[in-house]
Symmetry: C4
Subunit: 196 residues, 4 copies
């Protein structure tokens, strides 16, 4: 029951984050395609962040599906993740409106990094209260190489934002693509545990 | 269970899309009816888009009610649909504020087209993981002539937006009216399958 | 199941309407209480509309709790109600920013009237698909004198907005107070039906 | 069932309050870190209010988990709490944009105080309809010293805002930290009642 309300609240916050980002796509004054073309960087940032928030919703969904217990610490680890994700609309809008300027790329990477670290903390909290490293959830999460590689790549992206801004942007896109392949580890492992 | 969270998240996003559109209806400076009259095109666009998002919610609701399984691919097909629908407030506001100018009509039609294609993809993903073309869901969806006719009409609307803008607008209204008749196919077919 | 998703979607839309209204309460430029005092009419409009949306949520909650069946028609009657309620933030902001000017009072009353009529239609649709006038739901709704009196009072409020604006405002407040007494009819009647 | 919809609606409103606050963090015009530094007070206010809304969600979640009955009065006590919390984005934005000016600190404290009193009323309503002071819920809530101390501290914060503004800010942060320790009283007491 507790878990149900945690999921419902997270779904609500993620749905709102996903949707209010589109408010940064401000209606232009002109009524022709030229006016629209100026919005292209904002639109591209929006699309990228939409994919990222979608990835978090997807992974959150998979992670929680293997969970039986939540604790007070889990509630706060989850709110911590939502805090970082709630900064996404701001970082997205700032990056889009400034055409991927170096500082905006660094801040966008910082928000991605903070979210990734917060997700990692949440995952570990959930494992701790769901049987520890030998239990189904921990085995389902497994080595989690994507979860470990992503923060390293974000750090490279942040570091390169003032030197090679295009590399920084390319890294953020590449990490999103890496995650787009849906995370079936937990599904598979749990199906294995409960084969009925 | 998975399906429940997919529905909850989609409901959240659709509810927010439906509601933030009204933010484009900006409070006018004057306090008389003349000030209000200037908002009429924005209001009409809002009403049309409200009906469209309502149609998608209705159809999504009916489609999912016949579903037993969701997969990673379904989650992304659903997010893809939500992405297109999330552009509706922008396209609506742009069209309304520019009094249905040609380019804005074309973009509005483009968002409708993208949403229709995304819905079609989602429907096919759901059929694929729910027993294929011979299973209840596929038979319930049936020939889906409305779903096949709509994209064609949107294309006509987009094409005519620079030649006969009024036709383009009339087509978008006509398609909405065509869908307003609620989609009882799935309800009926499933009731037939499970007559208890 | 269907009913559950109708409730969840309505809850989502009502929660957003309730909350985005506060966005009309724009942060003033000054940092003293004088700057705040200028916001008083906007704040009062917000408080009144918060109570109205709260009343609709409460009554919707009670009405649906006595419902067993929903139909395609019910889904649209519900969306029609949500459409009128979605205009509340606009009408509230316009009225507040113009210090209850006559035209804004008339439009506010018009939105209240539209919502009341839409609620009445929804109630009748629900009765029609839940056993008709002799079934528990219809008997629970009963004479519904509040639901019949409110539209009449809103009409008086609209009519008086250009003649006696204060009366118009007083009527809107009075109707809200009349409804604040929670609607226990349906609860009571259903408890009577299922005394276990 | 009734309780479920009360929780869902509250989750929706709290999720939106939490998320729209980030809209006050307006995208700056400059594209460097200097432009970002100007946003620091707004960011700090946002972080503090995020923690406060998170605390309310957490405590609401714990409180409701011990509840079996809701009444019409409870629905309104809950809406009253949501009203005060809905003023948080405004108070947060005003305080942040004016760099914690005295009047803004007093108003922020006033919103915290109103929310605390509203929570106290809700808690007492819930106890009254769930068996009174001798029942599990009342015993789970217990002495509630945090709930009694907080309003006193908010009053000290409000009083000191014009004399010692920094003390006022420090008090609001301290109360948040005091609550961050999750409220396990109800969990523990209920686990004791139903040891299975």
């Amino acid at each position: 029951m507790q878990k149900g309300r945690l999921e419902a609240f997270s779904d609500g916050v993620l749905a709102i984050i996903l949707t209010i980002m589109v408010l940064e796509l401000k209606v232009p004054h002109g009524a022709d395609f030229a006016a629209l073309r100026l919005l292209l960087p904002v639109f591209l940032s929006y699309a990228l962040s939409f994919v990222y928030v979608g990835i978090y919703w997807n992974n959150h969904h998979h992670l929680l599906s293997g969970v039986r217990q939540v604790s007070g610490g889990v509630l706060w680890a989850n709110l911590h993740l939502l805090f970082w994700l709630s900064l996404t609309p701001f970082a997205t809008g700032w990056m889009g409106e400034n055409h991927f300027a170096p500082a905006t790329l660094a801040v966008y990477g910082g928000v991605l990094l903070g979210s990734a670290v917060a997700y990692f903390i949440l995952q570990n909290c959930l494992i701790a209260v769901n049987g520890g490293p030998a239990a189904p959830l921990a085995r389902a999460v497994g080595h989690d190489w994507k979860g470990k590689l992503s923060p390293v790549l974000y750090l490279v992206g942040i570091a390169s934002s003032f030197v090679l801004p295009w590399l920084s942007g390319a890294i953020y896109v590449a990490v999103a693509l890496m995650w787009l392949v849906p995370d079936r580890r937990i599904e598979r492992a749990l199906a294995h545990e409960n084969p009925d």
